[in-house]
Symmetry: C2
Subunit: 467 residues, 2 copies
């Protein structure tokens, strides 16, 4: 993790463009300090770099108009959703216009019969699911935050259900995108598959606002499973828990969720949600299917877990118990922070081939402990993805530096195991330094794509590509 630097500002362009945008949006353009600071909120350790103004467009045409003006005046445009990204994605190192897309919050279409819908970027995942529930449908991708679907597409988000349902990569069928010159395109479509031309949808998914601004998203939906079962299981060691995950995945049990919490994380959720779980490495699981299918999956998992030393195998069949357990898991970020009042949470994110998971988690936990960090570990371990949340005193520069060195080390470790420096949080500003180590010469191709689609470099500058 290198220092986050400011980039050169185009003061004349910024001064020129603000009144032009104000003409169009009126009081939906704000330049007050508090609003600007709020839109540089990065939820984590990164220095805040506020934009010069925040705009609230309400239509694709308004977004296109603002982007065209910004292109004409060479002014940065930073797309913004709920501000819950973790790697500085919404910072404005060269200033510019923050496009707060949360007023573009219409659910444009739901095609229940085709299991798809089209939404605007400001719809959050929980609002979409509330809207879908009566139709027996749900959208499975659930990052920790109640993020906007535009932000989730932009960062290629995933979460606890990805092991079964995939990530945003697999669940976005098509996009509406405003290009860097203000033109609007549509990518993909509503057909389940297509071999028609280059896969622009997947190019924009995960591009973190650096190649275009997403103004519409067509999502793949899933039927709410007939039956759902939840289980927890404790293990004598992180290694035993991870080995159980590996064996479960290899045996083809279609788990919907398989989440690891280390003893520190269990302590945090016990305190936060009064769960009373044994303070041991623990897996939280969910099974989806028919009633008999769910029972069969749970039994098959139980056998594997017992063979590997699992204890305290507990089912939660009542919806309220299931909800309480998963609520605790989803609120882990806040539970973790509460372990050390006043601390910042530096939540890092790696993903490795599943055969390396036990090693990677164990080594990561040992080193965090050896360095004296209070650092709960949670993971979407069915994918080989886990997070170490370092709780750092923001006033202690030496501790922050050691935390940064730990994050560097963990990224290297994961890359060396054939994994990635980020399974789901994205590169943003914080992980740009690792991209070359992971992607090598392919970074030059990414740079060529950026130059082709955003030749003026106005879209979310200072993100993704190495400095």
């Amino acid at each position: 993790m290198g220092p986050i630097e400011s980039l050169p500002r185009n003061e004349a362009g910024i001064a020129a463009v603000l009144p032009l945008i104000r003409q169009r949006l009126g009081d939906r353009l704000a330049t007050g300090e508090a609003v600007r600071a709020q839109h540089a909120q990065t939820t984590t350790w990164l220095v805040q770099q506020p934009p010069d103004a925040v705009a609230w467009p309400e239509t694709t045409a308004e977004v296109a108009g603002i982007v065209a003006l910004c292109a004409e005046h060479r002014v940065p445009v930073i797309a913004y959703g709920t501000g819950t990204s973790l790697e500085g994605h919404v910072n404005a190192p060269a200033g510019g216009i923050c496009l707060d897309l949360m007023r573009m919050d219409r659910i444009r279409e739901v095609h229940a019969e085709d299991l798809d819908c089209t939404v605007e970027p400001g719809v959050t995942r929980s609002r979409l699911n509330a809207h879908l529930r009566d139709r027996g449908l749900f959208f499975p991708i659930d990052p920790g935050a109640d993020a906007s679907l535009g932000g989730m597409a932009a960062t290629r988000a995933s979460g606890t259900n990805a092991v079964r349902y995939g990530t945003m990569r697999e669940n976005v069928l098509g996009l509406e995108v405003v290009l860097a010159d203000g033109r609007v395109i549509r990518t993909g479509g509503r057909a389940r598959k297509s071999a028609a031309g280059y896969d622009l949808t997947r190019l924009f998914v995960g591009s973190e606002g650096t190649l275009g601004v997403i103004t519409g998203i067509t999502l793949r939906l899933h039927g709410i499973p007939e039956a759902t079962a939840v289980a927890t299981c404790a293990f004598p060691s992180l290694g035993a828990a991870c080995d159980t995950v590996i064996a479960t995945i290899q045996s083809g049990i279609p788990v919907a969720r398989i989440e690891l919490l280390d003893p520190v994380a269990i302590g945090a959720v016990n305190a936060h949600a009064r769960l009373g779980l044994a303070v041991m490495p623990t897996l939280f699981l969910e099974f989806h299917g028919s009633p008999s299918g769910v029972a069969e999956q749970a039994a098959a998992f139980g056998e594997i877990a017992a063979d590997l030393g699992g204890t305290d195998f507990a089912h939660a069949s009542r919806p309220e118990d299931r909800g309480r357990l998963w609520k605790a898991r989803h609120e882990f970020y806040w539970a973790g922070l509460a372990l050390r009042p006043g601390a910042r949470g530096l939540s890092t994110d790696v993903c490795v081939p599943i055969s390396r998971l036990a090693d990677c988690v164990t080594i990561a936990a040992e080193r965090a402990a050896a360095e004296g960090f209070l650092a709960p570990i949670v993971g979407h371990v069915g994918d080989g993805n886990f997070h170490v949340m370092l709780l750092v005193d923001p006033a202690d520069a030496a501790e922050a530096a050691r935390a940064g060195a730990y994050v560097d080390w963990l990224a290297d470790l994961a890359i060396g195991m054939g994994g990635t420096c980020t399974g789901e949080h994205g590169i943003g500003q914080g992980k740009r330094g690792y991209l070359a180590a992971e992607a090598g010469e392919a970074v030059s191709v990414m740079a060529a794509l950026k130059a082709a689609l955003d030749p003026l470099g106005i879209l979310n500058p200072g993100k993704v590509l190495p400095p």
Copy 2:
């Protein structure tokens, strides 16, 4: 379908590059007429445009060296696998060097514990599956031909299992690619998911050799299911069969395969494989899971089918019967051709949102019949994808013109229903004319990507992008 034109040839460059490649490859470079014609084989109606020479590189370094030479001399490079593409992907409208990659046929690594493997582009899907069988693993993507995995990645192939396992889009984890200037990059990796930078893997998957030459493919593997059941079910109408598919998908039954054959197609496979099926619209299904899970899926499907008029519901539980049924399905192309000896098969391919499937198939069949075409229809209908195979007398120019008009009309129909002009065959030369209608302004973004990654235009010229 417009005429397939030749493009300007760089005679001097071609003359200069041939001896240089011969120095490197010796007799692994051929310029004989028969070999060149064989490598312009397009399996379908398109005019053959042979390359000037065929090269058989054996390593990534050799591919990189040839591409660098071709770049220096501005000579086209056309990657070639089994030559089973259907839209003229391997034609050489500007001449140039055909890179036959079938001698790059090593299975580089199998990580059974991670459910992945890395292969060279010349490994065919059946050879990979023979190699994996003893480890309890399989690779599910199965286009009609025993295609090469490099070609399957390049065309974003799918097949009968895509409804459950996805297409090449979902099953390629990473690639090794030779760029247009001869540099070699690696994209993606072995982690199940990643949010690290732009999704180059998905950009090259389906780019049909126009953005780079694929020399290595890391694939996602799956465990051979514990139990497999096969069923067939006949219906009184295409509409009833499609409605059954729609209801099956909507109900969340995780069918592994659900294939439609219209009565003409049933007649063809009956004759070819002596199946003795009732000559009615028929679904072929396969279920994967545990023994009880498979039985439950088959029973749930049976109820839906019976409600919608399905009859002749037959299980095939013996492996040899299952194999015979699917072999018949996979050999449909040859069975269809045999319906009209001497005819060419013009096999077209559209995909629509599943709610439109019954309409689209019914209208397509009615129009083919009204126009007097002998035209069996088969489809991977769980994805909304189907093929109409027009059997056309190659000596009858008027009939060929009417067939071309039918293909144009069907592409328009599918696009108008929110679908795509190609679910799995790709654009190649044959469907370039439809891409603008389907993708609109997004085509300009595809052109910008092509210009960024292949500025000299040497990679498979005259493909994908509209003329």
